[in-house]
Subunit: 145 residues, 2 copies
DNA sequence: CCACAAATGAGACTGAGTCTCGGAGTTATT
DNA sequence: AATAACTCCGAGACTCAGTCTCATTTGTGG
């Protein structure tokens, strides 16, 4: 987690540059995401903040998440229908994807250059502009196999 | 759509082999999916059946879709949070993925051997068993660029 | 310190999806 | 064809993630 402080500084910088003010709810959400490594749902964020004694309005949480997604600071990961998950995104564009274990529900992160390459080539072949891509694998993680 | 009748026959065969009975709601949903090529949402299915004068209970539609997904006859595609989409799946395992256009919302289907290859390699490298994978691209389709 | 814009939160609302349970339909057996 | 033993179906209540509204609070440039 050595990069977490860097990420939150980056977030503050981007938001300040956009002329936005600072508010309590936003700070709390950013702080939590900086601390947690991977794919929290909005409900988990709400619960975690309440558990820390910093209850925060649902509307604010969704607002902050939308804001961060719009500024490319957080990525929305659709691991399944019914609940979106969010995780911080690095300015470098470096990112990873997920495998959802059908047995234990665990989320395993991975990255793969060949996969990124294939997706990059695709945008040219199809004549479209690809802004963003989601890859979710489903199966059994090494612990459950 | 020359393969649609083949698909619905295949569905009937698989379900019969599983010792299931035939019922009206199930027939209607299968018939509709056989006719429609790509990624319908449950709500669209409900509306389409009602528009054809064959209103069908919501619970039945979800039941049938779950059943078909369980038997590998239909694929659940998560194009975004808040609404799952379903499309028929061929026994050969041949399938495609989707690009969602951020401007017009259109769904563009594509397939790509390099992508499949990369995902196939991945399961070995990670030491997991990948049963299923979802790839969703987001961007601008050639019409909106 | 003040004014004003931005941020917040309580809670009503929406809409996809689930659950329940009584009744209808299907099939095997005779 | 009648019966019995199933499975299947549908109306509608319910759940729950996410959205919207609007009155109030808070941060900040001047």
């Amino acid at each position: 987690m050595a990069d977490a402080p860097v990420w939150s500084d980056h977030v503050q910088a981007v938001l300040a540059r956009a002329g936005l003010k600072r508010g309590g709810a936003r700070q709390r959400v950013i702080e939590l995401l900086a601390r947690e490594p991977c794919a929290l749902s909005a409900v988990e964020i709400e619960d975690a903040l309440r558990a820390e004694g910093k209850p925060t309005g649902r509307a604010s949480i969704y607002r902050v998440l939308d804001l961060l997604v719009d500024h490319g600071l957080v990525e929305r990961v659709a691991v399944g229908p019914g609940q979106a998950r969010f995780e911080r995104m690095h300015p470098s564009g470096e990112h990873h994807h997920h495998l959802v274990c059908d047995q234990c529900g665990r989320l395993v992160a991975f990255d793969d250059p060949a996969l990124e390459q294939a997706i990059g080539d695709l945008s040219e072949r199809l004549g479209v502009r690809v802004e963003h891509h989601d890859v979710v694998l489903r199966g059994a993680c090494e612990r459950c196999e």
